[in-house]
Amino acid sequence: MKSLEVTLRHVRDDGRKALVPYFVAGATPDWTRHVEAAVLGGADAIEIGVPFSDPMMDGVVIQEGALRSLERGTTLESICQELESLETEIPLLAMTYYNIFLHYGLSRAAGRLRDSGISGAIVPDLSLEESDEWRAACDESDVATVFLVAPSTPTSRLRDVAQRTQGFLYASARMAVTGGASDAGEGPRVVASLREVTDVPVYVGIGISTPAQAASAASFSDGVIVGSALVKIILDGATPSDVESFVRSFRGAID
């Protein structure tokens, strides 16, 4: 079992719902301060979005964040360097599209992640079927590979994905790319099906933009991922303390 999973199972075993905020690395100059503020606000893990030119699974907010970050010259390397100075105990996960790692070299990328304190990776366009090489590379460096499932995933396939995921399973609450949504989506059904096939922690994401939505999602899952709503306030100019209280409000709602 990868360190990430060990840690996150502990969180669950402690009876705590995990809160995982998502950041677009490099979207603003002080992005690592935002990450630290989120930790202060009560995050259990952090998703570090590495910007890609063609973010096919992302809605307009995260696209905009990625664009700004790329325009600032952000690269996987620059992110890893900046993360080296970040002091935190909680797990960091890299989230990006496969081409970034592939181009960097898979083993080299996994090693670079580990060296900068990242213990997991979410690669939304890397299907289970194509993941052997990446998982092998991650294994060399104790980086966990987190897979997603969606409302469209059939039960037979849920089992396969659950078997391969490491750290947790990312359950999309809806058939949509990242971005706000007003309804609860299909989270309850998806999570219920997963419970039948796995005991890995299940976190719900995609479209969770308010503390109330987070509370509802946490009620049937092991944790929630908050992305676009957070990225939006940052793009709109939030200070680290704004971020801290934003995260705290979600923390309060799910505890």
């Binding site: 696209q63 496969y98 081409n99 592939l102 181009h103 299907s127 897979f147 409302p151 469209s152 058939m175």
Partner: protein, 394 residues
């Protein structure tokens, strides 16, 4: 089975052509890709479906398109040239072959709607056309920049009852239209088929689109035989995503003909690209040193794509096919050359293949070679642009 027998066969069960291809999509889309693959395998081995596909191609799309000898250009260049006339297919290019297959499949899967990406609008118009014919709803994603450059194609799609959505993300061109179509597909995959326009994207698209386009090569091979030419020395096609090239190559893969793909110099994924993953496939891509996808730049919107279909990447790697690049400057004179000598105004995309043939006659194409040009589309859509360029207005 010798190696040659397997050239341009089916990909492996995960959709790989050698090192390329596969299925790199969000989990949300995996079931749709699997369902599509199954539906396609099932349909393609169902004689009734295949017969219907051929009937529609014949009765509606105007197939078979002819192979036209090009005597005057042949004489000019010292070659023996023939053109496979996809410009005569309904809507003006080979794109219709693919969309007829995919829309029939959509109906068969019981889905009432299709979405599509388009660059210059050819694939969008073709999709809107086939959708209208079957009474399917249709939404086409098109980069905002392209909607402005190709206003009339937007209007054609609207006349055909489709909704055109301008895409404002990224470079606002074809690449981003694909991204946006994928994003949309995630939200509606249960009742909507994504009708991809070239031999790209996740498995089974590259294979399926090639199969639907292989009618080009199959017809052409038979027609050349009838003309007494037999196997030509070379088969030349332009390559954007690579569907017209794959379609014509498919008819000659097992022959001795050289297979030659001509890319736009500003979008030459084989010459200037490197392996990567984009839009659901592993292939050759234009990308920077960090793996960020670069924008392609070509005078012809249909070749303005930073990637190439995975099967082409494989054909290049195994050297079964050769790929070359032609710059914008040579394209216009090639367009004029074919127009004046043979009375056929080709699409700007196609003109790349013409330009390469004209350039290499006596060079990479020895004098006297017999050459089949895949005339992928007509130039009417480009006439306003060409006119503006020749007058120095663009």
């Amino acid at each position: 089975m010798t190696e040659r027998d397997n050239v341009m066969g089916a990909p492996d069960e995960r959709g790989h052509f050698g090192d390329f291809g596969g299925r790199f999509v969000p989990e949300a889309l995996m079931p749709a890709c699997l369902e599509l693959e199954e539906a396609f395998r099932d349909a393609w081995s169902d004689a009734d479906f295949v017969a219907e596909y051929h009937t529609v191609l014949r009765q509606f799309a105007g197939r078979p398109t002819p192979v036209t000898p090009l005597p005057r250009l042949s004489k000019r260049l010292g070659l023996e040239l023939f053109a496979k006339r996809e410009d005569l297919a309904h809507t003006g290019s080979h794109k219709i072959n693919n969309v007829i297959g995919q829309t029939l499949l959509t109906k068969r899967m019981g889905k009432p709607r299709v979405i599509a990406e388009t660059g210059a609008g050819q694939h969008g118009v073709a999709t809107a056309t086939a959708a209208a014919r079957l009474g399917l709803a249709c939404t086409v994603f098109m980069g905002e920049v392209d909607t402005k450059r190709q206003e009339l194609n937007v209007f054609r799609m609207e006349l055909l009852g489709a909704t055109v959505v301008p895409v404002t993300s990224g470079s606002k061109t074809l690449k981003d239209a694909v991204n946006e179509a994928m994003r949309e597909w995630v939200t509606c995959v249960a009742d909507t088929h994504y009708c991809l326009g070239s031999v790209m994207g996740p498995h089974p698209f590259p294979w399926m689109v090639r199969e639907f386009q292989s009618i080009i090569g199959i017809e052409a091979a038979a027609q050349l035989s009838e003309l007494g030419v037999g196997t030509p020395d070379a088969v030349v096609a332009c390559v954007g995503g690579g569907s017209n090239a794959a379609g014509v190559f498919a008819g000659f893969a097992q022959s001795d003909a050289r297979l030659i793909g001509v890319e736009a110099a500003g979008g030459a994924a084989v010459r200037s690209g490197s392996p990567g993953v984009l839009h659901g496939m592993r292939s050759l891509l234009l990308q920077d040193e960090f793996g960020q996808i670069e924008e392609a730049h070509s005078i012809s919107a249909g070749l303005d794509y930073p990637g190439i279909g995975p099967e082409h990447a494989h054909l290049a790697a195994t050297q079964r096919a050769e790929y070359y690049a032609i710059g914008d400057d040579d394209v216009l004179s090639a367009l004029t050359l074919l127009s004046e000598t043979e009375g056929i105004i080709p699409a700007l995309e196609t003109a790349h293949a013409v330009a390469w043939i004209a350039q290499e006659a006596g060079g990479l194409l020895p004098l006297g070679s017999s050459v089949l040009l895949n005339l992928s589309g007509r130039g009417d859509k480009d006439v306003a642009q060409v006119r503006a360029i020749l007058r120095g207005e663009a």
